[in-house]
């Protein structure tokens, strides 16, 4: 059976001729949390943005459920079952919480929109209490919840998250990650970029270590946790080992 997301030999970058992602390959299966680790500047964010259609791909391919989505416009991907939540500026500060969700739900058929917004608010009770508030007035944790709720609102098959723990207190990180496990268990696959290696591996099913725009290591959670090369990552070094 083929994977839900299949990235093969992807090359991508902001400037033509200067690829940041250089032939990266990875897969995400059904109901799987996959974490993308790596040192700063390894191209993790660029890779996830290239999958989401925000950075042009110059080579390789991205397949979602067997369908080639390489070079598909970013605004068409939510309708195809792929949602991307960026690290920062991931909600519209001038719109209210409810307006953010309604806007994301607008790609659904009219009859399903209200229900989708209600479902998203039910998943995050903290947000429901703030539905009328402009998103720029939310706390960091609430913002991240809104961003995640927005990504989930179109009932995607796969959600891409760029550092959902960035800027959050350790307690909030635990909350967000526990929520991600529930999201996975509800049938949505997750590909996430994280600096918080320990917390990310704790909830991941599998992981990849990206170095210089290419995956250097990959494996199941227990394989990565036991790998000294990944341990080096905790200290900010570059792993020297071969694929596990």
């Amino acid at each position: 059976m083929s994977a839900l997301l299949d990235v093969a030999g992807l090359e991508a970058g902001y400037e033509p001729g200067l690829p940041i992602v250089r032939g990266a390959s990875l897969t995400v299966g059904e109901r799987e949390i996959v974490v993308l680790l790596g040192p700063n500047g390894a191209g993790k964010s660029t890779l996830i943005k290239a999958i989401a259609g925000l950075v042009p791909a110059s080579g390789g391919s991205v397949r979602l459920d067997g369908r080639d989505i390489t070079g598909v416009r970013a605004d068409r991907l939510p309708g195809m079952g792929l949602a991307f939540v960026p690290q920062t500026e991931n909600v519209f500060g001038t719109l209210t919480v409810r307006e953010n969700l309604e806007l994301a739900a607008a790609i659904l058929p009219r009859s399903r929109r209200a229900e989708a917004v209600a479902r998203a608010l039910a998943l995050f009770p903290d947000l429901a209490a703030q539905a009328g508030l402009r998103a720029r007035r939310l706390s960091g944790g609430q913002r991240q919840m809104l961003a995640t709720a927005r990504g989930l609102i179109v009932a995607p098959r796969l959600i891409l998250l760029d550092e959902p723990s960035a800027g959050l207190s350790p307690k909030l990180v635990d909350d967000v990650f526990r929520q991600l496990v529930r999201v996975r268990d509800s049938g949505v696959s997750i590909l996430l970029v994280e600096q918080n290696v320990r917390a990310a591996l704790a909830i991941a099913d599998r992981g990849y270590v990206l170095v210089d725009g290419r995956e250097r290591l990959s494996g199941r959670r227990d394989e990565l946790e036991g790998n000294p090369a990944v341990g080096a990552l905790f200290l900010g070094g570059v792993p020297a080992g071969e694929a596990a």
Binding site: D75, F84, V91, F92, L103
Partner: protein, 311 residues
């Protein structure tokens, strides 16, 4: 002249500036560049209506005469509607031919210089097609009617306005309320606000930003056409009218906070009233100077404009 009359005259001018400034500020908010060709959309709106008026009275046989004391008849209303559609198309066409490819390859300066060029071409095209002399929609001399009851007028002074001026104020009010509801309630309006805030994030929300951009030009063009026709009604249409309006348009948009819809409306009205008071107190030759004194004073107190937000 009583002060209330000066204020009323200022509001009429301000309404026309506001209609133009809203289009300018929306294009700025979505596309992040100052479009110096926006004044020409206003001029073209005025001239489109002039041509359609000739068509409507000549071919369709619509009455050129006014409805109830208005010099505006069904013919001009039909011409106005047609001019709105054509000016919207002109804005969309301008973007497709010129600005779209420059957005991909050039920076903000390239776009601004290109808009200067487009303005020059559009302005001279009007002079080439229609001739350089000013033209009236109607030769009828409108009657100004007293608006206030005698008892009130005895205290405040009387306000006299032509039915056309009242029509301009009413139409502007309707359009501003409609646009406010559109931006705050409709999905497309919210998508426009979202694209103004962060185009990349808008795409992640599933918004086709190309559609948003087309609608931005369409709305800006339609409002420009209304401003142009109103200008033609109160004065006359002339090829350089867009250029003459450009400074007040920018002043109004900046005064209100560039990129802010409510700011552009407020800025236009304040500017119109300030100009009117300035003309009354100092003289017509200082019309624009007064506007800029107001602009400078507001910007010293609030550098981001009345409704603007600092980044």
């Amino acid at each position: 002249m009583p002060l209330v009359q000066v204020l009323a005259d200022g509001l009429v001018v301000g309404a026309m500036i506001a209609l133009g400034a809203v289009g300018l500020t929306l294009v700025y908010a979505i596309l992040r560049f100052a479009n110096f060709a926006h004044g020409e959309l206003i001029a073209w709106g005025g001239y489109f209506a002039l041509s359609l008026l000739t068509l409507a009275t000549g071919w369709l046989g619509l009455e050129a005469g006014g409805i109830g004391g208005l010099s505006i008849g069904w013919a001009l209303l039909a011409a106005l509607a047609g001019a709105m559609v054509l000016t919207a198309a002109l804005g969309i066409g301008l973007d497709a031919l010129l600005f779209r490819s420059l957005r991909r390859r050039g920076g903000a300066i390239t776009l601004i210089i290109a808009s200067f060029g487009a303005a020059l071409a559009l302005r001279n095209l009007i002079a080439f097609l229609y001739g350089p002399t000013p033209t009236y929609y109607s030769r009828a001399i409108p009657m100004a009617l007293p608006l206030l009851p005698e008892e009130v007028a005895a205290v405040t002074g009387q306000i006299r306005m032509t039915p056309d001026q009242l029509f301009i104020l009413g139409l502007t009010a309707v359009l501003v309320v409609a646009l406010h509801l559109f931006l705050s309630r409709s999905t497309l309006g919210r998508a426009m606000r979202a694209t103004a805030e962060n185009p990349d994030l808008a795409r992640l929300f599933g918004i086709d930003t190309r559609v948003v951009i087309r609608w931005t030009w369409a709305i800006g063009g339609m409002l420009a056409a209304v401003a142009g026709v109103c200008f033609g009604l109160t004065a006359q249409v002339r090829p350089q009218m867009g250029f003459d309006l450009l400074l007040p348009l920018f002043a109004a948009a900046i005064l209100g906070g560039i990129g802010s819809f409510h700011g552009a409306v407020a800025g236009g009205l304040i500017l119109g009233v300030a100009e009117s008071i300035g003309v009354h107190l100092i003289g017509a030759e200082y019309r624009q100077a007064v506007a800029f004194v107001v602009l400078i004073a507001v910007l010293i107190a609030r550098p981001a404009g009345l409704f603007g937000e600092r980044d």
